[in-house]
């Protein structure tokens, strides 16, 4: 009955570096017939901290090449939000700053370039809408104003070509002269230039509509659609040689993939790692130990190393993981600290630069640089003095050049599988507390990974507060993940007050809109999803609005609406799917006329309320026509009822499991009937399923209740409160009887003549 288990400890919470002895690779446990794969990491890296700069954006740390990496360490260059560019390197075992620029506007990106065929040792820095070029010693050789209207958000340099992207615009310059431009119409997140045939270049763009576009010689771009938004593109490299056709890609849901650029300038996904995690912020390839490794930096502070698979059809194996506690802005592989020891150089959001080196920790202690520490101590003393002076001088006038403080790095991402949002908030200093306020009902869900003490305050709906929650953080917390669930049809605004621990205490307010159709996500025509569906309810709006106006209104109601409308023959099309229910919403709009189609009457009604509201605000008269399709209800019910069934079944099964446990009958399952044995075998899965979304059943019931309320509204303007609707629907929902439900939906008047409903409309 008692079994000894190999001691294994994986303490992920441990902020300090965790050294796992490099032994054994993979163990396969045969456990109740299931194969459980336990990976033991094969790489051991030790953290060494180098320096701290101001907070940094993604991709603003680069390693400069060196003629002979076997003899010499590499220098690194980093640009921060204060606009300071540092060039640093090891000299006599001590880190020295070789060059430091004056402060200025924040650095948005850094790219290395040089004459084709030589080493890439020229540094290109994107600041605002201009690009500055520095030599490896810090001499400015180029100052170039791109004339873009917006600040550069992504940049790439290849030989004489420089591409700069701002918002939804891609622009390429050849020898600082305009070469080509392309208005993508979607947010461009990253850009990569690859050499094409002859002197031609191929531009690869990571776009906000989940697509990777390939621009090649002025033709319409070829397009690869991913399931989520790509966040980073990185050419595969071996040492200094960058591949011309292999690109690593990272996504918002934490996947890493390898794309291959084919001869016809289309992209192919070679492999895509399926293990999700936090958003990928940085990627690189480098040979750390025995073969090429993929270095991955994530939004939640995790740095991972995967072995690059030698064959295309195998997926990479995790070799190392480290959590540094704050989001990683760059990871890059090279030789920095000591000759002969490859390492991962990482920069965090708050500007901490550290290496994860292959040099064994024993060797590190011996030659730990006392010099650097003494220097740092002196620096700290000087800072203290300066601070005290500053404290005493009361007459500090309002400084126009005062640095901006408390820049909150935040993002709110939808989790499609359980229809909720993850809000991550990060500060360059420690967070004291976070106050979350919402003017619309929002459910706050618990996040395992955060240790902040959450407290819901009583609030008065009259003063516009539906949620007032505080999160008091433990010491030295720079980032916090929150999970929340909005309610469709209840748009509003989240206001988040983030207070830092630094004295004098300040607090930054950020605002995040909640869309009315918050659980809709955009799908694209080219995706091979079934765009058929139906039958559709139709909403038709006519009035004196322009296509741009209605596009702008839609962006208030729906998430991921592109920056500007894509008009084909003056008509724009957007397609959405409800991530929770699975129904479709098609929007077709042009000047003066807009048509919206959806199987889900709730989506239509919500949209109608929002759009007519917006039109009224702008004093535009709208003619509203609403065509309801009777068959649409059974379509929605067809989608929801099986899930209600499944959710109930899980609840039921877990109840039985609980009972078995209570009576300790689970210890020897062979005495039980096969049904219960099966339950016990799947116990962990079933429980995990319930834990993932414990309110699933209630939410599904809610969907149907809303559907009924909206259906009544759309049909006859009859107002049914959701309470009466719940009462009315309960028996039918309990029995999960489609016929009974349809009878209720079709109303009393037609109850007698309701024929047996057709289950399949098409």
């Amino acid at each position: 009955m008692v079994k000894l288990i190999i001691p294994h400890v994986l303490d992920t919470e441990n902020a300090t570096l965790y050294i796992i002895q490099s032994f054994i690779r993979t163990l396969i446990y045969i456990f109740k017939g299931e194969k459980l794969l336990l990976t033991i990491m094969t790489l051991s890296l030790t953290r060494i901290d180098y320096m701290a700069v101001g907070s940094t954006s993604r991709g603003t740390t680069k390693l400069l090449p060196t003629p002979d990496p076997k003899q010499q360490t590499q220098r690194f260059v980093v640009g921060d939000h204060d606009g300071i560019l540092h060039i640093c390197g090891m000299k006599k075992d001590e880190l020295q700053i070789i060059f430091k620029s004056l402060p200025g506007p924040k650095v948005n990106g850094i790219s290395l370039g040089g004459v084709l065929g030589t080493q890439k040792d020229k540094i290109f820095v994107a600041v605002g809408n201009s690009v500055k070029g520095y030599t490896r010693r810090g001499k400015v050789f180029l100052e170039f104003d791109t004339n873009l209207l917006e600040p550069i958000s992504a940049m790439c340099v290849l030989g004489p070509d420089l591409s700069a992207c701002a918002k939804d615009l891609y622009h390429r310059y050849h020898d600082c002269r305009d070469a080509d431009a392309y208005l993508v119409g979607e947010r461009v997140i990253d850009v990569l230039l690859l050499p094409g045939e002859g002197s031609a270049v191929v531009a690869v763009l990571a776009c906000g509509d989940c697509a990777v576009r390939v621009l090649h010689g002025g033709r319409t771009p070829t397009l690869l659609r991913l399931t989520t938004i790509p966040t980073i593109l990185m050419p595969y490299r071996e040492a200094d040689v960058e591949s011309k056709d292999r690109i690593l890609v990272g996504t918002t849901d934490g996947r890493v993939g390898l794309l291959t650029l084919q001869r016809d300038k289309t992209l192919r996904v070679t492999w895509l790692l399926s293990n999700n995690g936090a958003e990928i912020t940085s990627l690189d390839t480098y040979e750390l130990q025995d073969g090429v490794d993929i270095l991955v930096g994530r939004q939640n502070g995790v740095i991972e190393v995967f072995a690059f698979p030698e064959e295309d059809d195998t997926t990479p194996v995790l070799r190392f993981r480290h959590n540094c506690g704050e989001s990683v802005s760059t990871v890059v592989g090279g030789i920095v600290g000591a000759v002969g020891y490859p390492e991962v150089l990482a920069t965090t959001y708050s500007g901490r630069i550290f290496g994860l080196t292959t040099k064994p920790p024993g060797l590190l202690e011996v030659d730990q640089d006392i010099g650097l520490m003494t220097k740092l101590k002196i620096e700290i003393d000087q800072l203290e003095q300066k601070k005290n002076q500053q404290k005493e001088s009361f007459d500090v006038g309002t400084d126009a050049l005062a640095p901006s403080i408390l820049n909150v790095n935040h993002r709110m991402l939808i989790n499609k599988e359980n229809a909720s949002y993850t809000l991550s908030i990060e500060l360059e200093t420690s967070i004291d507390n976070i106050l979350l306020q919402s003017d619309t009902p929002v459910d706050l869900l618990d996040v395992e990974s955060n240790s902040a003490v959450a407290s819901l305050s009583a609030c008065d709906h009259k003063s516009g507060n539906y949620v007032l929650a505080t999160y008091r953080c433990q010491i030295n917390t720079n980032r916090l993940d929150l999970r929340l669930r909005t309610i469709e049809g209840q748009p509003g605004c989240l206001q988040i007050y983030v207070t830092s621990q630094v004295q004098p205490k300040c607090c930054r307010r950020i605002q995040i809109p909640i869309h009315a159709l918050s659980f809709h996500s955009r799908i694209h025509k080219d995706e091979n999803t079934v765009l058929l569906g139906g039958p559709f309810n139709e909403l038709n709006l006519r009035g004196s609005f322009t296509a741009a106006e209605i596009h702008a209104w839609l962006s208030l109601a729906l998430p991921d609406v592109p920056e500007r409308p894509h008009l084909e023959d003056g008509e724009g099309t957007l397609i959405f799917t409800s991530t929770f229910v699975g129904t479709m919403l098609k929007c077709n709009y042009k000047k003066g006329n807009a048509i919206f189609l959806s199987e889900n009457i709730s989506s239509i009604i919500i949209l109608r309320d929002i759009l007519t509201g917006e039109a009224t605000k702008r004093k535009i008269r709208l003619d509203v026509f609403c065509n309801i399709a009777n068959g649409s209800i059974s379509r929605v019910l067809d989608l929801v009822l099986p899930r209600i069934e499944a959710a109930r079944a899980i609840k039921e099964k877990v109840k039985i499991l609980d009972a078995l446990q209570e009576w300790e009958l689970n210890t020897n399952p062979e005495q039980l009937c096969p049904k219960y044995q099966e339950l016990l075998e799947n116990e962990s899965n079933l429980r995990a399923e319930l834990v993932k979304d414990p309110d699933m059943l209630q939410r599904l019931y809610g969907t149907i209740t809303d559907l009924y309320v909206d259906w009544e509204r759309a049909r006859g303007g009859q107002i049914v409160t959701s309470k009466t609707a719940t009462e009315k629907l309960r028996p039918a929902l309990e029995s999960r009887d489609l016929t009974l439900l349809l009878q209720i939906f079709n109303g009393n008047n037609s109850a007698a003549e309701t024929p047996v409903p057709r289950l399949q409309q098409n």
Partner: protein, 698 residues
Amino acid sequence: MAAFSLQLERKVESGLVACGKFDGSHACIVVATSGGNILVHSPHRRPLPNPDDDPKTGRLAWTGELAELRIGKQVTSLYAGRLGEDERDVLMIGTATHLLVYNVEDNADVFYKEMSDGAYTVTVGKLGWLTDRSVVVIGGNCSVTVLDASGTEVFWTVTGDVVVSLMIFDFDGDGANELILGSVDFEIRALKGDSVAWDVKETAPVTALVALSGCQFGYAVGNGTVGVYEMGQRLWRVKSKHRVVAIRGYDVNGDGTEELVTGWSSGKVDARVPATGEVVFRVQLSAAVVGIARADYRRTGRPDLVVVSATGEVRGFGPGAASSEASEPGDKMRELLAKKQALIAEMRHRAANPGSFASRLAVEVSCGDGAVRMALAAGPGLLVHCAIVFAEGVFDGETLVDRPSRPCGQIEIELRPPKDTPVDVHVKVCVGPMGADLLQVFELTRQLPRFCMYERIEKPIDVEDALLDESGVTIEVAERPQRVAIWLGQNLILPEETEVEVAEVGPTAGTLNVCLRGLRDGKLHRLEATSGGKIRLRTNDSNFAGEVVQSLASYLGLGELGAEANFPEDEKLMTEALERLTGLRETEIRLRAGEARGAAMLRNLLVRTEDARILGDAKNAKTRLAQLRAVNGDLIRDHEIGANSYRDLVRTLKELNAAVQRIARLRVGKASANAIAKCRSAIRDGDTRALVAVARQG
């Protein structure tokens, strides 16, 4: 890191883990599993040479290293310790009704005793004020019972609520052990015989107490807070969103002093330095921690730290488990860099906030309209965007946020502390101009006085008669009314520039006469102190009266104080409860007998049904089955009635204990202890008259 790890393959109930040397030398782990089972794991048990010698008669059934003990009732507490001269540990198992003290080695009961208040926590040790025998201390429903090694009651006292944690510990370093108890009403008390040596209100039910070295002890409360007290002073506390399941003292880093090891519901185990709270050791388990024990599980001669998780995983850590990861290379460097970053950030904040020197925040605390009101005004030219009030035990969570829909110059926050204890409030106010995204944060800390929810009012003429009724309490203190006035002034929120004054002229010269109105219920109370040192509180709220007496006694440094009290409503309730109790006890006995009869019948029928089945007598089997069903139905019904009456019984007992506690709180020291003892005997005898007499005269 882990010295050993094994799997019990059973789900273990939270908090019910103990360790004992039942044969006097080999450590065993005892856990409670669901359904009222106790599991003893003894890895070093010598199997008996002849299996037939194994006594089958006892409650324990051994299978290899494991033994099972079926209690059949929800186990509420588990403890293993030495009782009497025997060097073998005995196992103590508490349920809602009984305490079983069991000798595992002999496989026999030491004693089995009914505990009508339940046994929610059990501990064993030597109490300073009793003889030097070790005794069993049991915490129950509003009461603490002390039994000697044979199960005879030697001490009994009441508490404000259910006692959920106990510790025998030399609290003040005088060489004699005190009894420290933690209860559901947030209180930690140190009992020294009849008197309360020290007490403090925490922020949630006190779920665990553990003795550390010196006069330090660790505590944990239900809202995820863990901390350390030394000589009545809290050294530190930390709060997490997870729940603390168990705390234990253990020298994890091998420095010679014990650290406070905490097991969390998240599966985390950490060890903190008792003096500072600094974390020196941390490990994560795959499931919630259910218990921590110290046991020499590897027979190394020194105890290991043994952690048990909800899934039955047992993990052991040797002494000095933390030292291996103590200091890494580069730790220093990281610290320095962090310091530099913090300094730079602070300088930036100052540079960006030049106006912060000029702006001020005005604060005013007053009371009225049913709440304590805290008015905050920002100036000059700044508006309050929002204010967060942090306070423990005042709100549902730990915060109250006031965020006006538009930033405004002044806001008023209403606070309603539910209990008469001093409350520390910490307020953060975000202030800035209209539409600003970067706001200044003002922080202020205030302590609300104990009786902040009572407003001083002018003596209303029309309610004079109502106040003249005789309910209230009268105490005699040899103090001038002026000192009472100072005490009142410290414990009330008074309008600016007013004080509680003793009249100097007129007919009431030399007496103090104060009218108070409760903000929670609007009830009126009146306090009179004469120059003769007689203090009379006219009120019909005996809880309030108790708080006043206790607070006043501790302010005046009185160790002994008797009182005359008159609370007719309380007396009525008490009398009713006692009468009800007698009835309920009889019902209970009757139902028990019925249950036993039913069970016997059931057994009989089962055998007959089985017989019929084997004989293939379908007809007979059918009738038997029908009978069986009928008996079963009866039994279930009886059980429901029984359960209801039992719930009533427990509630009544709790009510009575709470009433005794109220009576005791009106007195201090010996008078209080005497009152408790008299009440106890009055309740035992069912003598309502005696009970009322105690309530009045003490």
